[in-house]
Amino acid sequence: MKRKPEEEKIISYLYGEISEKDRREVEDYLKDNSEARDEIEELKKTRELLNKFEDEEVVGRPNVFSPQHKSFFVSKTFRSIVSIAAAILLLMIVGRVTDLSIKYGESKLTITFGDGNEQITEGFISRAEVDNIINEKISHSQKNLEKHLVGFENRLDSVESGAIGYIDNQISNKVLVSQRQIDSYVAQLDRESKEKIGNYFRKNTLDQEIYMQTILTDFANYMEIQRGQDLEELTLYVNNLDKKTTQNQIETNQLLSSIISTVNYAQGE
């Protein structure tokens, strides 16, 4: 009995997306299993039924995106042409209004406005005159330039010498000031140090005196206490000695009494 192929293989077989090996496995199983064959057949029929569906036509599909065609009337070319035409038209209107007339002849350029009574005429000048004018202007410019250069050099020299003097002065001032400041600072340090050392010694001496006084006081107290204790011990010792002497005396008396009585008893017999 062959094992039933997995669902995934059955589906792959049904849709024809299956490897040759898996296809043989499914077909071998179907060959021996009528129930599985029926199942596959019914799945195929279900698919056939589903495929009877007819897709709907889309009526009035919206145009989602409008192409951005640029109109000729807003294009750059159109704008350029209109600008040039407008400029020419403006010139024509101005010319017409002012009765502008431009003439060239007899080595003259004649520009007239109105009826031509007032004429602005510009005659031509020769090449030599033009050269002279240019040379004059150039030599004049050179002179001016030289004059300016000399003045500039003088000013530069004066500024330089002034600046150097100023810098030297500043440096020497700075050095002097610095030396004075250093001396003052050292002197101040010296004073402060001396003061600090003096204070230190004074304080130290005072501390030592207080310390010695404390030690002496403590020692005197200690000696006093010790003396009291010795005295008490001595007193106690004397008392004990006194007690012992008294007791010895009593015992001696008793002994003597005993001896006397013994002697008397012996004499009586």
Partner: protein, 194 residues
Amino acid sequence: MTHSESVIQKAREGDVDAVNKLVSLWYKRIYNFTKKYFNDHDIAQEVTQKTFIAMYKNIKKLQDDERFRPWLYRIASNFCHEEERKKKRSAETHNFDGDKTGAVMYVTDGDETDKRLQISELNEIIFSLLSTLPPEQREVLIMKEYEGLKFREIADILNESENTVKSRLYYALSALKKETKKRNINKNTVYYEA
């Protein structure tokens, strides 16, 4: 569905005419995909339009022209899921105890009824069958049966394994097989009704 890759190329470069060409080539397919998913003209139209707007905005990111088809279906599928979630939330908000067989999809207004009259009875039967499936099975079945996508492509679109896709399809077809038996829908009745 075939179209020159140069159209996609031009669309990627910002050519609006090329984008519109793609829309005209794919609108019917995507509309019918979403229509089968929701069995609702308005939602299908909305989701389709969202799909193409997203396509227009994101086509520059598409790196491989050959992957345009699964890429487009992935966008549509994502919008379908989003719409499905909205419907669920709406049903929960209104405390609507919807029929799990999907009968809720047949509650329509007058205009919708008029539109439906123009659709064949056979399509209605298939719509009603599809609507009995859970969304994830319905989606796989539509992609495979009607859109002709390969298992690998569907797996890629849904970000699932091929075996998961095949398994879902198996259960979808098996469920439809049972449903057709239950309703006594067979070749003869279909042809009669069609």
